[in-house]
């Protein structure tokens, strides 16, 4: 185990970068690694990591931003519900500006819908408790990191006997998305920078099949630039040595088996279900649906919404961006019709989205590749 303080030391960063470069020199080809965590996306850009990487090593941003992989159908349902009288919709801030086929939650709010930004699913339960005349719906999005909190909110609402609290869930699981990418013939990924927060919940061992079945290198890392640099050095070395393996560089937070209490509460309330992902389509067992025992807290049941209908925005290449098929600057809309102020695709809306990261932190040595934004 490498202590956090050691990993953060400037000398270790220099060593990591130097190991990364010498391993890259041995590759004899270009490699692509993918992170599947929005916080990794932002952190790598914020510390200028891309400007330090060898030319033949690329770090792509995969389907790790929860907002970015939420389908338009899911967002349309949220907006439809928020517009109904008597409903208060509680959402994480990121979701406000994502456009569905009928505008965004932010526009619906300006038109009078009661939409509130919350930081925790339990804040939504409190609202429901405080005003039992209103139907409070929690827009539940995110991966294994936020799902246990949604499950806890439902269990608390059940204990309190709240009849006016429901969730509209679009929770997803990371591993089915990684498998789907590896099974797409046109996606080339040599290894994964595995997500820190998700790994805390699901445990390091969960990534073992990616190594065993698909032969891809996996390194779990924390969120600071030096930790990401260390992970990239290990990934490149493994590929150069032809020995893909699973390594955990974030062992102070991530154990082999993960947080089993959080897993238990999550699967008590939710069961795996086929789910629609933006850019990836419908993936078997990739989402989490509220179990029938808790159907009274499922907004889709309570308000008879049915399955979300998926639509994609013409021209938007968010799907290609999160599968690594395209970089943001290859999208016709990027920095032209689609900017953080007027985002077309979800990858531009979320502060964790790849397109927003590109737009905001585009590299100096890459500036000419990116269209002028001023």
């Amino acid at each position: 185990m490498i202590a956090q303080a050691v990993l953060d030391a400037p000398e270790v960063t220099r060593q990591s970068l130097s190991r990364l470069r010498s391993a890259a020199a041995r590759l004899g080809r270009g490699v692509k690694f993918m992170e599947v965590c929005g916080t990794h996306t932002m952190s790598a850009f914020r510390c200028g990591l891309h400007s330090l990487m060898p030319a033949n090593v690329a770090l792509l941003s995969g389907p790790g931003c929860p907002v970015c992989v939420t389908s338009q159908g899911d967002i349309d349902q949220l907006i439809e519900l928020a517009r109904r009288p008597g409903i208060t919709l509680c959402t994480y801030g990121d979701m406000l500006r994502v456009t569905g086929s009928q505008g965004s939650l932010e526009q619906a709010r300006a038109e009078g819908a009661d939409i509130r930004v919350v930081y925790s699913s339990l804040d939504a339960v409190k609202l429901a408790q405080a005003d039992r005349q209103r139907d409070v719906v929690f827009a539940a999005v995110g991966f294994e990191t936020t799902t246990p909190a949604t499950a806890a909110a439902i269990l608390r609402a059940a204990r309190l006997g709240l009849e006016n609290f429901t969730v509209l869930a679009s929770h997803k699981l990371v591993l089915p998305a990684m498998r789907a990418l590896l099974e797409s013939p046109d996606v080339q990924v040599d290894g994964f920078l595995c997500p820190g927060h998700v790994s805390v919940i699901i445990g390091a061992a969960a990534f073992e099949p990616i190594v065993q079945k698909y032969g891809r290198a996996c390194v779990i890392a924390g969120f600071e630039g030096p930790q990401i640099a260390a992970a990239l050095a290990r990934l490149t070395e493994m590929v150069a040595d032809g020995k893909p393996a699973l390594e955990n560089l974030y062992s102070q937070a991530v154990t082999e088996e993960g947080n089993t209490d959080a897993q238990a509460i999550m699967y008590k309330v939710f069961a795996p279900a086929d789910w629609q992902w933006r850019g990836l389509g419908e993936l078997g067992g990739s989402g989490l649906a509220v179990r029938p025992e808790y159907a009274q807290f499922d907004a889709r049941v309570r308000f008879e919404l049915g399955r979300p209908v998926s639509r994609e925005t013409p021209g938007c290449r968010c799907g290609d961006v999160i599968t690594g098929r395209a970089t943001p600057d290859q999208c016709e809309l990027f920095a032209a019709a689609c900017t953080p102020v007027r985002a077309v695709g979800p990858c531009m809306v979320s502060s964790e989205g790849t397109c927003q990261a590109w737009f905001k932190y585009r590299r100096v040595n890459n500036a000419t590749k990116v269209r002028s934004v001023s």
């Binding site: 510390c47 929860p66 500006r97």
Partner: protein, 348 residues
């Protein structure tokens, strides 16, 4: 509808209850009472006491004029309140243009039901901050809107100042000039964001809101070579630096490791998923300074209570690309851009 200044007849009969009601905005006795008992005892001075439609101020050849609206929630936050914010913001806007503040016009929009005690505390804070900045509130206006139409108290302040002899303008900036920030960034924005979004969290964050005209006057009096000043309020340091690069056309390079930020502020920003470089300051200046003036400027700043932690954070480089670059602690680099608008906290 009332004008603070349009009626000399001030009632001394304090008949109002503990809350602001719509009648306080009616222009009648209750309005007079509000002005006489809540406003004048706090802000009164020989000019305001005239209660005329306009304040007549001693003249100046060139005037600086500024106006700003304040709608901060919560109206009181660690380190300040909406009143201190309004006076400081207005005074600082004048001072960074090299002007000496002469007077402030104060517009209050109150919501029916506001506790008078709260209003008076805000007025006390306005008075104290004005005294600290050696400026007077010389004219004003008060309106009351119905419950649900406002949010407690909104303030608009206009400030007028006498323009000074030093010209501060981005067209004077040239390669080699240094960028100095007067202290740790993002304290105001993070203190307010935490107080608003997570009131249950016990925090040591304190807003830096303060009038800086004293420090800026000293700076301009005692040194030569300050060519441009900005206060990095909304949009933060990133906004000011990116604007500077765009307006001058030169490459502005900032060194991340030189940018002062308190650990607690950094952690709060990290937790809420915002970049501290984008976050508002209300008691800081960014100075663009000729290289040979850096030592003198740092000396003046560090001897002022609002500038003890001033740092040289960057330089204007001889590359006409109009971009602002951040050289990161890791040795990488990235472009800094002006943030876009409301900061949306991240999911996780």
């Amino acid at each position: 509808m009332i004008d603070v200044c349009d009626d000399k007849a001030v009632s001394s009969d304090r008949s109002a209850g503990p809350r602001i009601n719509l009648a306080h905005g009616g222009g009648g006795q209750l309005t007079d009472d509000l002005i006489a008992t809540s406003v004048l005892p706090r802000l009164g001075n020989s000019v305001l006491a005239e209660l005329l439609d306009s304040a007549i101020l001693p003249g100046a050849d060139r005037l600086a004029l500024t106006i700003d609206g304040y709608v901060v929630q919560p109206i009181k936050f660690p380190g300040g309140d909406i009143g201190r914010l309004a006076v400081s913001g207005t005074v600082n806007d004048l001072a960074v243009c090299g002007a000496k503040p002469l007077g402030i016009a104060l517009g209050l929009i109150l919501t029916e039901g506001l506790e008078r005690k709260v209003l008076e505390e805000i007025l006390d804070s306005i008075a104290a901050t004005a005294k600290e900045a050696a400026v007077r509130v010389v004219t004003g206006d008060t309106k009351v809107v119905g419950r649900g139409q406002g949010d407690g108290i909104y303030i608009t302040t206009a400030g007028v100042g006498a323009a000074g002899p030093v010209r501060l303008h981005p067209d004077q900036v040239r390669p080699g000039d240094a960028l100095i920030v007067s202290g740790p960034i993002a304290d105001h924005g993070m203190a307010v964001m935490l107080a608003r979004e997570m009131p249950q969290v016990q925090s040591v964050l304190v807003s830096d809101v303060a009038p800086l005209n004293g420090m800026i006057e000293k700076l301009l009096d005692k040194t030569q070579g300050v060519v441009f000043l900005r206060d990095p309020t909304r949009g933060g340091l990133a906004g000011v630096a990116a604007d500077l690069a765009r307006r001058t056309g030169w490459h502005v390079a900032l060194e991340e490791k030189q940018i002062p930020i308190r650990p607690q502020t950094w952690h709060a920003a990290d937790m809420l998923g915002v970049d501290p470089l984008d976050v508002a300051n209300e008691g800081k200046i960014v100075a663009v300074v000729r290289p040979d003036a850096v030592a003198a400027v740092m000396d003046v700043l560090r001897h002022d209570e609002h500038g003890t932690e001033a740092r040289v954070i960057g330089v204007v480089e001889d590359r006409p690309d109009g971009l602002c670059e951040l050289r990161t602690k890791m040795g990488g680099s990235r472009i800094l851009q002006k943030p876009y608008g409301e900061q949306l906290p991240r999911i996780c």
